[in-house]
Symmetry: C2
Subunit: 326 residues, 2 copies
């Protein structure tokens, strides 16, 4: 089986590639060719018996995309995207990568004869924006409040149409906010959800820019990878023509996040969080979804963590080698 | 005020142009320049004191579109589209006109400096496809089952984002099935809703290809024009960021349509309808929406007919000069 990952140098892409290399198989079939693509060539993961190819490729360059598809990968994980903040700052770049790039990919697939790959698209809960009900149901309408969310919503619609027409077997999974993100703090408005856990566990202070009552929807990087793999195992007809699914997650407040950190790592670690309100971040976060009724995804076998405690334990296991800076 | 209508040679476009020419004004402001554009140059309507310009222009040709916008119309009615059946048969053409063409228009607007026109987009209830609830609420998600419906849904999302970013003041109105369409029968799957009224009133036989229990959502051509004009009178902030609205309509079964025809024109006219089931049309119509809860549009002042009797009377007044072929 040949597998293509776009956006393979990103945090989720790297973890997905490492998992595929480690497993050596996808849906019970040996992966004998793994093609990893990003705007800079991704680092190849260790361990795959089959061939690993890495490539620097621009998804918004039509011939580049046609070249990726000409080798007819069986499964495509389409993760490449300009993130929310950048798509908002650079309108043209966001549409070029997130919309045009996705269309080039779909068109390159359609241009092949007798070819109907599995396409797993990483969508986002950013397709929703306030106001919404207390728990957003699977049949709630697209209400993006960012260009990024708009582009993800459009990609969902395109993939549904290309799947309906038989050009591909598509699924779009709306990832929760991924927490705890490893690595350095970034300037994403959602960054604090991770940094208030990651930095204290590493012995550093973290800033909390919002009220502890802020409620949000989380899943670990490990869960995100499991969502992508499980999505690749589902057959189109199981989705009943409705190919976009909100993934399950852990719904909790920032206060509950901090309480979980205290339970797992103690008072001293939790005390490294400093409250420093940021009105701009508070306003942005106010428009974000808080809770979903993800019953369709759960019925289809997607599983997230059961608690924020578990999300923290996944971080300690996967990123810290089991060690906390006390 | 300068007004641009794309798709001005179509049935609704012609009626809208005639109404604007007759009124001489839009939202209380004199229309001194009416620019009518279609793939073939539209016929100019009579009566406008101001300038009427007609133009053959291809909405899927980017320089053509930039040329239309360079004159900075104050209000743009964007009606140009490949219809449902054709967009399904010709995948490329549907996306080229309905998606790329709309993006060219939006980009041409964005490219102008200090320019923020009112854009009224004719969307469609084809953004919805079965299964859905008994009455589709305003917050029900996009579930198109055609490429046409997909393209309309994407255009709604794009216009919402361009409006949010301040590039234009946009509104998308989802028109019900327009009934009674004047003119010759066409091969659209929805054609029978009009032909079972239009042909008998003109002294001709009509074929009913579905059961009388089929329920659907209708408004007259006159109501469609009133929706477009009313949409142009609304200011963006009244829409609360949610710029797509399902228009009100008359919900009735085919049997109720026929009963209305009998009340208005008598048994002899109603007897001109011949039942001849068509399994393909029955299957297509089965996926269509039947009823909407259009409370947002009604609260914003949009008005449709109150009954199918009224829809028939509008047809007799507007198209038949008040006369029925007995």
């Amino acid at each position: 089986m040949k597998v293509l990952i776009t956006g393979a140098a990103g945090m989720i892409g790297r973890k997905l590639a490492a998992r595929l290399a480690g497993d050596g198989a996808l849906n019970g079939t040996t992966v004998d060719h793994l093609l990893l693509v990003d705007v800079i060539a991704p680092e190849p993961p260790a361990g795959l018996a089959g061939r690993i190819e890495t490539k620097a490729s621009d998804i918004s360059n039509n011939p580049d995309v046609a070249g990726l598809i000409s080798g007819r990968p069986d499964v495509i994980f389409h993760l490449a995207a300009i993130v929310s903040g950048e798509a908002e700052l650079d309108f043209d770049k966001g549409y070029r990568i997130n919309l045009d790039g996705t269309r080039y990919l779909l068109e390159a697939i359609r241009a092949q004869r007798d070819y109907r790959p599995k396409l797993v698209f990483a969508s986002s809960i950013a397709v929703f924006g306030a106001p919404f009900p207390e728990a957003i149901p699977d049949d709630f309408f697209h209400t993006p409040l960012t260009s990024y969310g708009t582009q993800k919503a459009i990609a969902e619609l395109l993939i549904a149409d290309y799947a309906r027409r038989g050009f591909l077997d598509g699924i779009a999974i709306r990832l929760p906010t991924i927490c705890v993100r490893p690595g350095k703090p970034n300037r994403a408005a959602s960054g604090f959800f991770s940094s208030i856990i990651r930095e204290p566990l590493a012995g550093e202070d973290a800033i909390l820019p919002v009220e502890e009552s802020v409620r949000h929807w989380h899943a670990s990087p490990r869960a995100a990878v499991s969502f992508l793999l499980h999505a690749a195992s589902l057959a189109g007809p199981q989705l009943g023509g409705r190919i976009a699914l909100t993934m399950p997650g852990v719904c909790c407040t920032v206060g509950e996040q901090i309480a979980a950190l205290r339970r797992i790592a103690g008072d001293k670690v939790a005390a490294r969080i400093r409250h420093q309100r940021d009105p701009m971040i508070m306003r942005i976060v106010d428009g974000w979804p808080r809770r979903f009724d993800a019953r369709r995804a759960i019925a289809l076998g997607f599983r997230a963590e059961d608690s924020f405690d578990e999300i923290i334990r996944v971080h300690i296991e996967d990123e810290l080698g089991g060690r906390i800076a006390a």
